[in-house]
Symmetry: C2
Subunit: 656 residues, 2 copies
């Protein structure tokens, strides 16, 4: 039986497990990327590992989300990230150099390699045959420390492309069609592998628009085979030597297949406020538009902005419509400026921005009240633009530009008919991608050799191995359904301390008990007791990290939310299940002692633990954990576990 | 006796008073400008006047401070401002089109005219022989309503320029030299009139750098005569027909004279954190620099950025120094892009921003902690950059660019020696200023014909004429030295409601008594009682406007701060002085009744008023007011007064 491209790359990188759908596998990571909102914690965690340098082939740190630097904390973050990249051996992309996915695609994305990134659109370079996956920051830190990345083997679904795109239909319409058919849940647990005769008609930047927005399907990743288009693209980027001819076997066995005939596609648009509310543009034509934005990691490339510039040449945008262009990379921006397109767009009335994620994540150019915004971005979740009750449509640059010219939503084919002299600008690659040569600082020539931490950047604590003896007071007793928002509130006034764990920890469980954090710190150890479904809500790692910082040793709950339980393992807190009767009996302040040799019991697979309360009565608590989770917990959490593995195993240099 | 240029322009526009230093004069305003942080209230006040359209020759509304639109309130403000401009007949400069002073200079500034603007750097077009003055928003609203602008006739000080600037010295160094000599208080109550043989060596953009930053001297305005340079500049802007030959008489009599020999100047720099802490650049050479910024209304023109671009051509900025360029206008930006300079700067490592005031007012690109920022801006007051304890230096674009190349402060003459191939780029005007043709919406072709108010934009109340009978409770009794910060706190969480008086009023005097606002609203009239120095602090008009909105009729205080007292007149609240003994006797809640026919007494010049307290005892209170202040107060405040004048006098159309 032949292999899919996904299986080939995974096989090449397999460290643990077997490539059976649903089974946990561990894979080696070749490249990692981080950005500025997730990167600070990644590097603090990496620092806590105690390694001298990153262990992956390549690590790249981008500054793209907070490039406007509204607050000194943003600028301090950027300075810290530069210092971390310099200290630990990563590439550093300066603020203003563009969006991680765009800059990574231009400079580093390589066929056949694995990429792990602390950003959900990490799968973008799948368009070049790279297997790229988004993850939490801790996973990236661990990968940089040389640890494998663990994941359940996804289903591999074949998307067979036939035909060629007709005039005015674009790659964006391919992925919008996927969303129309499959919905935003349609890709969960799946990797989409694009094949078929239609593939060769799509250039790499078109492919990356598709793989980028596979994230909105909920997919683990999306990937294209490599071919002449890939080789050509890499050559234009001056990286032809990185080309690898890679694709699925002819008899590859897929879990499912979808067929899209490109020639059937027409300009599509996602209505507010979900990326899968996709309809033909003609169905919503006539809708007034207040704001048009072109950019983002989906459609912010040179090749995406160029068609818009060509459409605007010699024209002007409607005066009651604002149009903002934010290039995805400075390289794209510099090339467009050099060729005169930037001036052309400005002349038409465009507000031309620095290269940034910006508005895509609600940072800048927030729509006005009760207005309509058309964007070439990937998400239009309600409120994401920065205002509640927003009306954000998602579409191609061509559809967005047509709307800016007309002041309302219009199918560009109809606008072309109306104007008479408007032609489909087509999709064109530059002869050579050149520019922004001074905006990536290489690990060979760093400007910093030690970490620079502003006052809002603290250290991340590392936990010791689990003790044989665990004992301490019940620091807090909580009811059912405590959420991660209860544990660490997600309001901006608190989350601004995300890089400062000592400060952030002061807010731990403050919504339940204002005095908790101080009490926990004073107590030097102890337990949390909770009812059913403890830790429901977001995947926020801080909800485990902050209690760990405060000295909490474990949580006794009637049941745990799945992701939070994984986070408790990752940060070395033992999650024990207790029954309702015992839960009722425990009082806040009660002394808890785990009678067994905890470290030994956890490592050996013991499931039942005897807990003595107030040296007075006993209960039985259960530890439900995989072998891997047990080793992580016993080692003091995932960071400590990775550190230990690096010291024991690969001989990776540690500096302590 | 001959006239100064200032006297000539004032004489031409004189409506009231005589041109004697220190005397109050009223002048006619030809042009007004407003920007987005002050403009909303200006237009709400204009709306309250009830006029159909602006009465000045020209009004221009710019969107320059909050162009990043971090919050829907910013974007709503811009939308409201566009609608106000359309409704009332003003030019509207779209967000992203640049800084008010730059765009006004390019498009509208005209020799011999008067300009009033709700921004402190309004004097910029003095470089073209326009008499331009910054003021509060109410003054601008009144001027737009056809009312004169009142001001004490300033001293006119002659600045005689001799010689020519040597290599690497610039217009910025001229104004830095003025600040070095005179300090930030040196221009208070003065207009600086530049003359002498050195004038002709300075082009208009150089002159406007000087007049712009006269504001930092505390000057009322600064002005240059017109000459061939002015004519040439206007011609390059396509406005040669607006040239007027205007200058002082040869025997003009000045209040004072200063002589600057341009040939003695060298590159200067203002150290943190005051614009007058000026030293030669060489004295601080070697200081590491983290951030360099070029832009602002002082040095953000095409002609300011061009030298920087030339210096950067083929070079790169130091990797540990960030350099951001924010053009002052989109026209400048478009021209630089068209000529290839933008790409050149990007290639050197510059983060190229949209046209905005931005960082100059702490909006974006806030320096990192404990860092040094070199800026071509006009102010470096501590904390203005957005971070406390900042270290901001002010200098010319040439000095800033040299620092970015070297990574530390360096006299560009020394850098030129060091590099060997770096030449003074000189100062060059483009053949023609062309671009951004679609970014000013004219009053002849507006896109809105009615006001569009987002949820954070309220109406401004207009007060009725003063009643004959004033009576009400003592709503609050306050001690000495109540500041405008007590009356309306200036914190961001409160001032964000600056365009929403009903909402903002809820915070009135909340720092003194949380229940005050509700009590005042419920009472439907009443008085404030205070000790000495009531209303000290800022010139914030809201400190009078909000009590007025809540129905407060007047303030009885032992004494008033000067500016706040003027604001009380302007918003129709009677400020009465009482003595210490009477102050002691009045209790909160006491009924206050002014026994006289208040309206008649105010108009007729009566100084002593009998106040009956609780129908039990009487005191005598004093009204110290000029004839003009009395009429304003009696009419219900400056807005009502202006409205009445428009209705009675000029026959300006009113729509109610």
């Amino acid at each position: 039986m032949g292999q899919t491209l996904t299986e080939k790359i995974l096989d090449d990188h397999l460290v643990e497990g077997e490539l059976e759908t649903g089974e946990e596998i561990g894979i080696e990571i070749d490249q990692v990327l981080t950005q500025d909102t997730t990167g600070t914690l990644v590097w603090l965690q990496f620092e806590a590992l105690g390694l001298d340098e990153v262990q992956t082939e390549l690590a790249a740190q981008y500054c793209d989300h907070q490039t406007y630097q509204f607050d000194f904390k943003n600028t301090d973050d950027h300075r810290f990230l530069r210092s971390a990249a310099g200290t630990f051996g990563a590439y550093f992309s300066r603020p203003g150099n563009g969006i991680c996915h765009n800059v990574h695609k231009e400079n580093f994305a390589a066929p056949g390699k694995t990429l792990l990134g602390s950003d959900s659109h990490t799968p973008t370079p799948g368009g070049l045959g790279q297997l790229a996956i988004g993850s939490g920051g801790l996973d990236v830190a661990v990968a940089m420390g040389g640890g494998p990345y663990y994941i359940e083997m996804p289903e591999v679904v074949n998307v067979r492309l036939e035909g060629e795109l007709p005039a005015w239909a674009t790659a964006k319409d391919v992925i919008l069609e996927m969303l129309r058919r499959l919905s935003v849940k349609g890709g969960v647990g799946k990797i989409f592998e694009y094949t078929g005769p239609g593939v060769e008609s799509l250039s790499v930047p078109e492919r990356t628009t598709i793989t980028n927005m596979g994230t909105e399907l909920g997919a683990t990743s999306s990937v294209f085979p490599t071919d002449e288009q890939t080789e050509d693209y890499l050559a234009r980027q001056g990286r032809e030597d990185e080309f690898v001819d890679i694709g699925p076997d002819e008899d590859a066995d897929y879990d499912d297949q979808i067929v899209i005939d490109l020639s059937d596609l027409e300009p599509l648009i996602a209505e507010p406020s979900m990326p899968d509310k996709v309809v033909p543009v003609r169905e919503v034509a006539g809708q007034d538009v207040d704001q048009v934005m072109i950019g983002s990691c989906t459609n912010g490339g040179y090749e995406d902005i160029l068609p818009s510039a060509k459409m605007l040449e010699g024209r002007s945008i409607e005066p009651d419509t604002e149009m903002i262009v934010a290039p995805g990379s400075k390289k794209a921006s510099e090339m467009l400026a050099r060729e005169g397109w930037t001036a052309e767009m400005m002349a038409a009335g465009v507000n031309y921005s620095e290269a940034t994620c910006g508005a895509c994540i609600g940072i800048g150019h927030v729509p006005s009240s009760d207005s309509v915004s058309l964007r070439t971005f990937n998400r239009n979740f309600e409120g994401r633009s920065g205002i509640e009750d927003d009306n954000v449509y998602l579409c191609s640059p061509e559809v967005a530009t047509a709307a800016a010219i007309k002041g309302e939503i219009v199918d560009p084919r109809d606008l072309a008919d109306e104007l008479g002299d408007l032609e489909d600008p087509g999709f064109e690659l530059p002869d050579a991608y050149e520019g922004a040569e001074n905006d990536i600082i290489t690990p060979d020539d760093p400007v910093d050799d030690e970490l620079v931490k502003g006052p809002n950047i603290g250290d991340v604590p590392l936990k010791d191995e689990l003790d044989a003896h665990l004992e301490g007071p019940t620091l807090l007793k909580m009811p059912d359904n405590i959420t991660t928002d209860h544990i660490i509130p997600a309001t901006q006034d608190i989350l601004m301390y995300r890089s400062n764990i000592p400060k952030l920890s002061e807010f731990t469980l403050s919504r339940v008990d204002e005095d908790f954090a101080q009490r926990a710190l004073d107590s030097d150890g102890g337990f949390l007791v909770a009812g059913e479904n403890y830790g429901q809500g977001s995947s926020r790692e801080h909800a485990a990290l902050c209690p760990m910082y405060l000295g909490v040793e474990g949580v006794l709950a009637q049941s745990f939310a799945r992701i939070h339980k994984a986070n408790l393992f990752n940060f070395g807190l033992i999650p024990l299940e207790i029954d309702a009767e015992d839960y009722e009996q425990i009082e806040e302040g009660d002394n808890i002692e785990i009678v067994d040799d905890v470290a030994e019991a956890v490592r050996s697979g013991q499931e039942e633990f005897t807990v003595r309360v107030n040296d007075d009565w006993e209960l039985t608590a259960e530890l439900d954990a995989s072998e891997r989770e047990r080793q992580i917990l016993a080692d003091g959490g995932k960071l400590s576990h990775t550190k230990k593995q690096a010291e024991d195993g690969s001989g990776a240099p540690a500096d302590d």
